[in-house]
Symmetry: C2
Subunit: 365 residues, 2 copies
Amino acid sequence: MRINDSTPKADGFYMPAEFEEHRCTYVLWPEREDNWRENAEPGQAVFKQVIRTIAKYEPVMVGTNKSQYLNLLEMNMPNVQILEISNNDAWIRDCGATFVVNGTGNMRAVDWKFNAWGGLVNGLYFPWDQDDFVAAKMAAIEGVDYYHLTDFVLEGGSIHSDGQGTILTTEECLLDPGRNPDMTKEQIEEMLKEYLGAEKVLWLPKGIYMDEDTNGHVDNICQFVEPGKVVLAWEDNEQDPQYERSKAAYDYLSSQTDAKGRSLEIVKIHVPNPVLITQEEADHVDVVEGSFPRREGDRLPASYVNYYNCNGAIILPIFNDPHDQEAIDTLQSLFPDKVIEPIYAREIILGGGNIHCITQQVPRL
Amino acid sequence: MRINDSTPKADGFYMPAEFEEHRCTYVLWPEREDNWRENAEPGQAVFKQVIRTIAKYEPVMVGTNKSQYLNLLEMNMPNVQILEISNNDAWIRDCGATFVVNGTGNMRAVDWKFNAWGGLVNGLYFPWDQDDFVAAKMAAIEGVDYYHLTDFVLEGGSIHSDGQGTILTTEECLLDPGRNPDMTKEQIEEMLKEYLGAEKVLWLPKGIYMDEDTNGHVDNICQFVEPGKVVLAWEDNEQDPQYERSKAAYDYLSSQTDAKGRSLEIVKIHVPNPVLITQEEADHVDVVEGSFPRREGDRLPASYVNYYNCNGAIILPIFNDPHDQEAIDTLQSLFPDKVIEPIYAREIILGGGNIHCITQQVPRL
């Protein structure tokens, strides 16, 4: 049921950290032909690899439009459930529910308003009506009530929680005029605190270079490893436009403390070398009026920080790049008890995001 | 995930009785204009009443086609979850999953083949492809594996279980040529035992008079009250064609013992006076090629035995008939600890079934 007259904070709920235990992971199935090249088949192959890999560690709930239901059902993947969840595209991190818990074994969901990353100002497609129902459907499947925001736009990829009162976000995204243009930064911060049950919001200035689709989501540049410790996408080359973005984030984080008053330990993970769209890749995306153009030579916002932290494993996007091994090694040292599961994810980044963007966790109570 | 190479019985699973505790109830939302008059609005009003009544006692999961999703969501009914489950019509008792449990806290589902009550022989509509996916979707939402039958047709309304090894069914339905014409009665009985984890099948000869839609489903004529005790739809008037059906069932049941060797106590519940379709009711069903005709004066298979036995209540169809009070009193005496919830259900019987036919329980583990 919808809860319209209260907030998670008022009711004692908060967003746990992604690194805490999950009940399961939700994924949506891609099929949009003006976003995924070659009728989405190469993209589906990588999504399937992500799904099967996560399913080794926790249950995976895959939502799909009716059109692809039987295709998915017949794959009969172990520890994977196939659900009908209509959608406009497959970015469940952004259109899906944010789950919040209290200390006494209860869970609820937050159903933010979704407008395809900027609505009619600078969104990526129209309509986004089915995407905007995804959160309520996830809450229904999980059997929990949900907070329904009718006038506050947010995507799950623009926030991270440490589970102890601290939220990470970026000014580039949350202050972009395509979302909540009539609200001040202070008002937006207040909404995050109320609906995520948080005490402090850390505002990185910007996301990854060329992450124009999402206006610089934090989940591509920075993620909590544990309370008081983050990984940050890094670039050594001062001539690369990523450098000043990473440097600004580093300087900002170094100057801040979290909700518990701790200084943050910052672990750098170098980004891959620039990933550029090839002519072949650009040519095979269907052109539809209003859809986002793909041009040969455009740089993609590739980053290892867009990994997904599930029970027992880190599902890590790699790019067949010299920096892959360094990212694997760094994450293995940060998570000695987890398996690092690298997946060559170029096909997902071609669609506009990466592994973190196509997953959404449900906490285990 | 599908289980193709085993059976519930082989794996130690069985179907619990409906009168045992439920986790929740599933319902599908009606909208088919060639079955529900006046664009299904009167039918939807009664379904809503059934949903809200059950939701006083246990969670209700309402599945709907995409077209009616927002309509349902905006009702914001307490203890009710709205799910996307595409369907061809709203009879989840028949197209939905049968849940089976073992003694150690595990649940699975059985996904029978569904062919709209007779397929191309004497089924009620074509296609039934979305109905046939409902069971797998219910299993996915509940997060359980399911047994997938590709060549054995059965509807949930054609069986009742006492949870102790006994199954009730009717010859009229299960031996009808529209379902499994190449199987003998013995082979069909073996399938019931294997997939319901049962030891004994009791075969009533026929169902309710004029229950031609379902070919005489048992859930309209007989239901377990507790192990060793059933209610039976009865007719005193020997001139009424229902009499010989009820009498034959009574005589059969009186001659039988259940799986545990008990004789059955039979409690009669008199059917209402004949319920006939009015001209007004017949006129407002859209006519579509191949759909089931509604004619003024046709008798409807009205019976109180098509009640739903949920946690703490009996959801009872009534007909504004002199026999209503007797049915209420009989059920109250059979279930002294439950609330009898009578609902005027003429609109559902006009659609072809009744309250039991539009519900499906999930056991509580």
